[in-house]
């Protein structure tokens, strides 16, 4: 700006200062001769510019201009001509001082030759100024030059320049500020490199100074002067879990969130102009109309319209949205948690059956001879004889080790139950058929034993005449031919007897007459005194089977759904076991007396631990059909169940004396050997008293021994 003003100021002197042109031409020569000359030239100019403000800046600008001038000399020449015009100004050499210092002097400063510059005679006062302002049309372009104290009238060019500068434009009219830039570096790969200097040698060899520095550092570290920077522990403090304190249930809920399933996109059916194969034929339409709305494959009938304009409003819209809302809120959406559990892990750790030997594994002997289904079997306490009762009206006695039928007793009726007296010093068999309980003496024992059992039976005879407390049970002696067959006593019951069991001592036996309507369902008979009594005065349901406790004076009565345990001494019920099965078929008491197994017609076998609970300790559902018989082994930890599916399943059942330890129950063997007859398989099962052998009797009229 100032420089421009200087130019403006100097313009009017330009014609007067032609003498400086030589210098200018010199300086132009110096431009050609080199930068150094132009430097000296600029020094010279500096001297001449001393009176201007920031003359050095000006000079620098000129130097730049000269450098550019190397590119276009013509332009430079012209520039210097302009420049030369303000060089030959009458310079005031006082410098940049407040001019009021010369206020009291007639001169205003000194020119280059050291002569005084005198102030122009200024006699204008305010009035003159005003008049001048009013009258002089050049007044607006007249400026006061402080350094010379004279007034200068600006030319048209100068005014134009001032206007341009005021508008923020370049002073030079011809300067194009939007010239295209020539980029020095560009993305284009040029054929010539920016620099082609070969790489220095020092870029190949290790730096000695760096080596020196490093060795100094190493030495310092070794001496302990410098401590290597400790690795900062970022783990604590700097980062932390922003959501750590958040409630995990909320997170879990967020995690469990499931977006609602999307409505399936419409298909061709929904189109207003479906392809003809999507339109219903008449049959399809009839079928659609017949179907229940829930069964329809499509909830609407595809229709064809000639244009979209004719498509009516969707009448089902509200209904459809309603259904959708129902779907969304009535059908809970939740992520299924798939638990990755190895099925093997869920199986409890059971010992291998191999380790639980001995148990019966193979069918060794088959006892053939019966012609009807064998309902009941019993083994003598010595284990030498086996008795079986069959529907063919006979009781047979077998030698266990040879399967020889030693004796057949025709009793004249389908035998429901046989039971060998468990007392080894007597040899008697109780047989239940129709409404009679027979006492047989099979005479398959030592003579002494036979004698003692005869004595037991006849002991009553010498005493008082048989007196029954209730007249419904009649005791009578066998006579004639029956006596030769081994029959000794007949106990006539009022109703059909289904089961007969002995007490462990062998003097008492109990019989069952299932009858839903009467309380006369169970009788306990005492053999030595020929007495019968009904222990129950009330009907608790249909009695299925009964059993004596092997040691204590308890009596087990199984009705359809539960087992009641009575104390015979106190004459009260001590426990009631709930079997959770529909219909009990059979029951067996563990020789220890603390456990009961119970088979039912709904294929279940329940094990009760009497010390533990009145609910089954374990339910075994191995049979496919009704369980008909269950049995415990007297010595070995075995129990067996017989079923209508023709199989006998032998299980290992160890009972511990320790009350804390639960019985160990492992199924060990499925024994098959019976042929299915009339949909009946195995009807009874019993163990050998001393060996791990099991006998089973079947509907196919055979008895099998598994060893």
């Amino acid at each position: 700006m100032e420089r421009a003003l200087q130019q403006i100021f100097n313009f009017n002197r330009k014609p007067a200062d032609e003498d400086k042109d030589d210098d200018l031409s010199d300086s132009e020569d110096s431009v050609y001769s080199g930068l150094e000359d132009s430097g000296s030239d600029s020094e010279e100019e500096e001297g001449s510019d001393d009176d201007e403000e920031e003359g050095s800046d000006d000079n620098d600008d000129k130097m730049k201009e000269k450098k550019e001038g190397e590119v276009s000399e013509e332009k430079k020449k012209h520039e210097y001509e302009h420049d030369s015009s303000d060089e030959e100004d009458i310079r005031n050499t006082v410098g940049n001082i407040p001019m009021e210092w010369y206020k009291d002097f007639p001169h205003i400063g000194y020119n280059l030759d050291g002569k005084k510059i005198y102030k122009p005679i200024r006699n204008k006062d305010e009035l003159d100024d005003f008049l001048d302002k009013m009258e002089n049309p050049e007044y607006w372009r007249t400026v006061h030059d402080k350094q010379t104290g004279s007034d200068v009238v600006l030319s048209d060019d100068q005014v134009e320049l001032v206007n341009r500068l005021q508008r923020g434009q370049f002073g030079d009219v011809n300067f194009n500020e939007c010239e295209p830039m020539v980029e020095f570096f560009s993305s284009d790969v040029m054929i010539h490199p920016v620099t082609n200097r070969p790489a220095d040698k020092r870029s190949f060899i290790p730096s000695l100074t760096e080596k020196e520095k490093v060795s100094k550092l190493v030495h310092a570290i070794k001496m302990g002067w410098i401590k290597p920077r400790r690795v900062e522990d970022d783990g604590r403090g700097r980062y932390y879990n922003l959501w750590a304190s958040e409630d995990s249930s909320i997170l879990a809920r967020h995690k469990m969130h499931l977006p609602a399933p999307k409505i399936p996109l419409p298909g061709h059916h929904e189109s207003y102009n479906p392809p003809p194969e999507y339109l219903f034929t008449d049959e399809e339409r009839a079928l659609w109309e017949q179907q229940d709305p829930a069964d329809r494959k499509l909830p609407f009938v595809p229709r064809k319209y000639s244009s979209l304009r004719q498509v009516p409003a969707f009448s089902q819209f509200i209904h459809e949205r309603f259904e959708r809302c129902l779907d969304l809120y009535l059908c809970p959406r939740q992520r299924k948690m798939r638990v990755n559990v190895n099925p093997e892990d869920l199986i409890p750790q059971l010992p291998k059956p191999k380790d639980l030997q001995p148990f019966p594994t193979t069918r060794s002997l088959v006892y053939r001879g019966h012609s009807g289904l064998v309902r009941s079997i019993s083994v003598s306490p010595s284990g030498q004889w086996l008795a079986s009762g069959s529907d063919d009206g006979s009781v047979r006695f077998w030698e266990v080790c040879s399967s020889r039928c030693m004796k057949t007793v025709q009793v004249g009726g389908a035998v429901k139950s046989v039971a060998w007296n468990p007392n080894p010093s007597v040899c008697l068999l109780a047989v239940a058929l129709d409404s009679v309980v027979l006492i047989l003496s099979p005479s398959l024992a030592d003579k002494q034993v036979i004698l003692s059992s005869e004595r037991l039976l006849s002991a009553q005879q010498e005493g008082e005449e048989p007196a029954e407390g209730n007249g419904s049970v009649v005791w009578s002696e066998a006579e004639g031919e029956e006596l030769n067959q081994g029959l000794r006593l007949k106990i006539q019951h009022p109703k059909a007897v289904h089961q007969v069991v002995w007490h462990a001592k062998g003097d008492y036996l109990a019989s069952v007459m299932p009858d839903n309507t009467s309380h006369l369902q169970v009788y306990i008979h005492q053999l030595s005194r020929r007495r019968s009594q009904n222990p129950f005065s009330r009907n608790k349901g249909l009695v299925q089977c009964i059993s004596f406790h092997p040691i204590r004076p308890y009596f087990f009565v199984a009705t359809q759904r539960s087992i009641r345990i009575y104390n015979l001494v106190k004459q009260e019920m001590t426990k009631k076991l709930q079997t959770n099965s529909k219909w009990i078929s059979s029951m067996a008491v563990h020789p220890g007396g603390d456990h009961v197994i119970c088979g039912s017609y709904d294929c279940k076998l329940s094990w009760f631990d009497l010390d533990l609970s009145t609910k089954p300790y374990k339910m075994l559902r191995h049979h496919k059909k009704a369980v008909r018989g269950v049995a415990y082994h007297r010595l070995y930890p075995l129990f067996a169940s017989a079923s209508d599916d023709g199989s006998v399943i032998v299980c290992h059942g160890t009972v511990y004396n320790d009350l804390l330890q639960n019985p160990l129950i492992v199924p060990v063997k499925v024994l098959r050997g019976h042929v299915m007859t009339h949909d009946l398989g195995v009807l009874d099962v019993t163990f050998h008293p001393t060996q791990p052998w099991v006998f089973s009797s079947g509907a196919d009229a055979t008895i099998c021994l598994f060893t």
């Binding site: 030997q357 001995p358 060794s364 002997l365 010595s382 284990g383 030498q384 080790c401 040879s402 399967s403 020889r404 030693m406 024992a445 030592d446 003579k447 002494q448 001393t690 060996q691 060893t707």
Partner: protein, 392 residues
């Protein structure tokens, strides 16, 4: 084809060959080796007629090819193999079939007569040709065991044990064909299942089915108690020792002089029968788990099973050592089979005799070359076996 160096030897004087090693193909089987021996014998003796031989490599019968056998037995093929050869035991030939009225529970045979006990409560005497000689009736229950006691000329003493808890001693004169009950031995509190006669024929040992063994002549001399369950079989090992097998899974050996128990051999299953061979001094037992086990009664630890012969599929009800052969025994089982075994070939029996149609209850041998077996099909079969090779 690899070759094996083998040296053949035999103890049979008739068939001796030169003691030189031969190189034979490793794949050769019994028939090939037999041909080789026959060729050698023919070269030596022109009148030789072909004989079938069996071969023993280190005491085991050769049943497969030689190389396989040596591989399984772990015998080195580098050295000369010693192969013993014996004349092959020919299959026992069925001879007679003696029909009974009821199941046959027991049989005892000597050189001339066969004694059988039956479930029809009688004992019968048969000639070895199968002719019935006598029916001994007197028991009131099933005859469970029979035994010859001794024979003096035409008069024989025999014993029958029955379920009626008695043992009857009979005297039978074969010429007049009269039988007379001499004694009735009582004392058992249960059925008598088995009896055994002292080798010298003076004492009878009899057995019953319950827990106690009794030894008696007229009245019991001694009761041997110890078994906790039924005694199934009893025999005299020699004149001082009695051996009994029981359902309580033990075999006990008793000293008859003191009546004390000497050794107990414990098994894991019920024993049905035992037999003792004085030739090889082994006990053989048949049990309900289908195995025949061989025991050494002299062991002190009492539980050593030397060998177990497994081929039956039912209870082994009878087992008997050959009277003249140290390695052969015969067994009968509930699977209707009688099997002839050689302990040198324990994997499989020598012969299966499948004559019976029902359970086999008893087997016996005679030294005259007869093998007998009886069972629940009421038939007593006799077989003729090659008894001539009494090499032991």
């Amino acid at each position: 084809m690899s070759q094996i160096q083998a040296r053949f030897f035999t103890e049979d004087k008739r068939y001796v060959v030169d003691d030189v090693p031969f190189s034979i193909p490793a794949a050769s089987e019994v028939q090939d080796l037999s041909n080789v021996i026959n060729k050698l014998l023919e070269a030596k003796n022109a009148s030789h007629s072909k004989v079938d031989f069996d071969f023993l490599v280190r005491g085991q019968f050769l049943r497969t090819s030689l190389s396989t056998h040596m591989a399984t037995e772990g015998i080195s093929t580098e050295e000369v193999v010693e192969i013993e050869y014996v004349e092959r035991i020919t299959a026992p030939e069925p001879e007679e079939c003696m029909m009974h009225d009821d199941w046959i529970s027991s049989v005892d045979a000597d050189a001339e007569w066969i004694l059988t006990g039956s479930y029809d409560k009688t004992a019968r005497i048969w000639s070895t040709e199968g002719k019935p000689a006598m029916t001994v009736a007197g028991h009131t229950d099933v005859v469970k065991d029979v035994a010859w006691v001794k024979r003096e000329g035409l008069t024989s003493l025999l014993l029958t044990a029955s379920l009626d808890q008695t043992v009857l001693l009979w005297e039978w004169n074969s010429e007049r064909n009269k039988v007379k009950a001499r004694h009735c031995c009582r004392g058992h509190a249960g059925s008598v299942d088995t009896i055994s006669v002292d080798p010298t024929g003076t004492k009878v040992r009899l057995e019953r089915a319950r827990q106690k063994l009794k030894r008696q002549q007229r009245t019991p001399l001694m009761t041997l108690s110890g078994h906790s369950e039924a005694v199934s079989s009893v025999l005299w090992c020699d004149s001082e020792e009695v051996c009994s097998a029981s359902w309580d899974h033990t075999i006990r050996i008793w000293d008859v002089d003191t009546g004390g128990m000497k050794t107990t051999l414990t098994g894991s299953k019920v024993f049905n029968c035992i037999s003792y061979s004085p030739l090889c001094r082994r006990l053989a037992s048949g049990s309900t788990d289908r195995h025949i086990r061989l025991w050494d009664p002299r062991t002190k630890d009492g539980s050593l099973v030397l060998l177990s012969l497994t081929s039956h599929t039912g209870w082994v009800t009878a087992v008997k050592w050959a009277p003249s052969h140290a390695h052969q025994l015969v067994s009968g089982s509930l699977d209707n089979l009688v099997k002839l075994w050689d302990t040198r070939s324990c994997k499989a029996p020598l012969y299966d005799l499948a004559a019976h149609e029902d359970k086999v209850f008893c087997v016996d041998w005679t030294e005259s070359g007869l093998m007998l077996s009886g069972g629940a099909d009421n038939k007593l079969y006799t077989y003729r076996y090659s008894a001539q090779q009494a090499e032991a």
